[in-house]
């Protein structure tokens, strides 16, 4: 089993310029004070997520722009993506914007050719690896390995996600969860179906299944399992409500185990209004709000990452085209074949 010295080794790699993926370079975030006023009406399809925090952002944008009216249709992200595709097929366009909680759903819409191109001064505000011609990530989330601190130390956790399959750890996971399936999709893209199948089989032998990833983190904290597979913010939230929680985060290196996925937005209709609306989501104020309140990772420069995460310079996520995570069907088939779904 590979062992590692957690932060120290990451720092060394960063210093050596060996990180495969750059999370640290972007233009400085723009303040809302410097953004144009919004005038007119837009319809936004809003994927479910983060309780009412996205709603608070939208309400604040409307309040700041009295001549702007936003109509919102809410629903699960995948359902809304399917609705957009179905509407396009029927020759109907009801949505001007689509804000999705995962980039896979964005990929479904962009690959259908329905997203409008975005100006480079807008996409250029984001970190280099998050710049796309026809959609923009809003905030990020990292795959992590939450571990029970009574049982393990960070250096006990392998820095290679593939090594978990050969380890003796008991592992918590939530295979039905969309974020987990995106992670498996990333592993398929990086390692291929055969290796991914073997990994799933290996982990499944010692895995305990949970409905959601917060459940995974809570089971880790209780000591029901040694470690888990989950997005970063569940552990940060648990520690916020229970500061002495027996859980900490470890990160693998340059593999699907530390994939950075993102919520994202795209414009379905042409025109400045949609583009300017997106500018508000990338503003310093909105990015700060989502980092502080939702523990999401800001993707523009000059905004601090949520408290409790190591410096982003020390994280080395794999270089995966996020829109390719939309290709979920082979992942689900593979997971079913292995018997974990």
């Amino acid at each position: 089993m590979q062992r590692r010295r957690f932060i120290q080794s990451m720092a060394a790699l960063a210093a050596a310029g060996a990180l495969p993926f750059n999370l640290t370079q972007a233009f400085a975030a723009v303040s809302v004070d410097d953004l144009p006023k919004l005038k007119g009406e837009l319809t936004l399809y809003l994927g479910r997520g983060e309780g009412g925090l996205y709603e608070n952002v939208l309400k604040a944008i409307e309040e700041r722009n009295p001549e702007f009216k936003l109509r919102i249709r809410r629903g699960p992200t995948a359902s809304l993506a399917n609705a957009i595709l179905a509407e396009a097929k029927a020759g109907v366009k009801r949505a001007d914007l689509f804000w999705a909680v995962d980039s896979g759903a964005i990929g479904m819409v962009t690959s259908a050719g329905l997203a409008q191109p975005l100006p480079s001064d807008l996409t250029g505000q984001l970190h280099e690896n998050f710049q796309f011609p026809n959609w923009t990530p809003v905030t990020g989330r990292i795959r992590t390995i939450p571990f029970n601190t009574d049982r393990l130390k960070a250096e006990d956790i392998p820095d290679d996600i593939m090594a978990l399959a050969d380890s003796d750890f008991t592992i918590g996971w939530a295979p039905a969860y969309a974020a987990f399936q995106s992670f498996v999709t990333a592993m398929r893209i990086l390692k291929g179906d055969v290796v991914t199948t073997d990994w799933l089989r290996g982990v499944n032998a010692r895995a305990k299944k949970f409905a959601g990833e917060l459940g995974v983190v809570m089971a880790v904290e209780r000591g029901e399992v040694d470690l888990g597979l989950a997005n970063h913010y569940y552990s940060l939230r648990l520690k916020s409500g229970k500061p002495d929680a027996r859980v900490d985060l470890a990160f693998t290196r340059n593999d699907a185990g530390c994939l950075v996925n993102a919520s994202g937005i795209l414009a379905l209709s042409e025109g400045e209004l949609s583009v300017n609306f997106i500018r508000y989501l990338l503003s310093k104020e909105v990015q700060t709000y989502l980092a502080e309140q939702a523990y999401e990772i800001p993707l523009v420069d000059g905004v601090k990452a949520p408290e409790g995460l190591p410096n982003l310079e020390l994280i080395s996520p794999p270089d995966v085209d996020l829109t390719k995570l939309a290709d979920l069907r082979p992942t689900i088939d593979l997971m079913r074949n292995v018997g974990i779904l």
């Binding site: 479910r48 309780g51 604040a60 409905a211 959601g212 459940g215 913010y233 909105v286």
Partner: protein, 270 residues
């Protein structure tokens, strides 16, 4: 009795009552009619239907005493209930007592089919009659709020909650519906509602809630994933399942208060 129901809910007073009578038509057990948006105009019909249902139950018990189970034909109880407009009037307005009606219907049906003593059959009949009259009272109260424009129009689709507080209200409604489905002798559907409620609603709330009270989230996680499904699958009484749900509703009240306080204290976006 109605005021007691209201006091159990999150919001106090008038606003609380309005929240109680928010329609959830997408879950209607069978088609709903436009009459549910004109309750006052239909109160006389509903009253007649309640009287008719009670008369039919009495006639069924008489037939049972004269000719046994076959003569009584207990299957008619459910058929009669599904045939009346009042069914959707209470279902779209107040699910807890809707669940009690199903409990009462199957109480009478079971007692007749098992050829229980006449005292037991009369006890079940009394429970059903009380539930029906309570339901009529609830619909009359809902009609008053509707007349004042304090309730939402009943539609065939339900808006997704836009924040955690709305999600908790929707969870309350669905948990009461779990009791109704269990009382309706549909345990698999009841468990499906529990799972769907957890995945589609509670999961969206617990991330925010855990930062406020981790132990409360842990308790509710167990309730959703273990305690309530097990209570249903173990085949306990309707009252036992209702007790589990009521305990969960109490915890959700606590969650509501915490999230409401947190929302008030939250910093502004701009």
């Amino acid at each position: 009795m109605i005021s007691k129901w209201i006091s159990r809910q999150h919001l106090i007073g008038m606003l609380g009552a309005v929240a109680l009578f928010t329609a959830q038509a997408a879950f209607a057990n069978g088609p709903i009619g436009e009459h549910v948006n004109h309750l006052s105009d239909n109160i006389d019909d509903y009253t007649q239907e309640v009287k008719w249902l009670n008369t039919e139950v009495e006639a069924m018990i008489t037939r049972y005493q004269q000719g046994g189970v076959k003569e009584a034909n207990p299957e008619l109880l459910v058929e009669n209930w599904e045939a009346v407009k009042f069914h959707s009037a209470i279902e779209t307005n107040y699910v807890p007592v809707y669940a009690s009606i199903w409990q009462g219907l199957f109480g009478v049906k079971g007692a007749l089919e098992e050829q229980a003593s006449i005292e037991e059959i009369r006890k079940q009949q009394q429970f059903l009659a009380e539930s029906l009259w309570q339901a009529l009272g609830a619909v009359k109260l809902a009609a008053q709020y509707q007349d004042k424009g304090l309730t939402e129009h009943v539609t065939t689709t339900v808006e997704n909650p836009s924040n955690s507080l709305e999600a908790l209200d929707a969870i309350d409604n669905r948990l009461n519906r779990v009791v109704a489905k269990y009382a309706e002798k549909l345990p698999k559907e009841a468990v499906t509602i529990v799972h769907d409620t957890y995945l589609n609603l509670f999961e969206g709330v617990e991330g925010e809630l855990i930062a406020l009270d981790a132990n409360l989230v842990e308790d509710l996680e167990k309730d959703f994933n273990v305690t309530l499904p097990q209570a249903i699958q173990n085949g306990g009484t309707v009252d036992e399942v209702r007790q589990v749900v009521n305990t969960m509703l109490g915890k959700l009240d606590t969650a509501y208060a915490l999230l409401e306080k947190s929302a008030e204290a939250r910093k502004d976006v701009f």
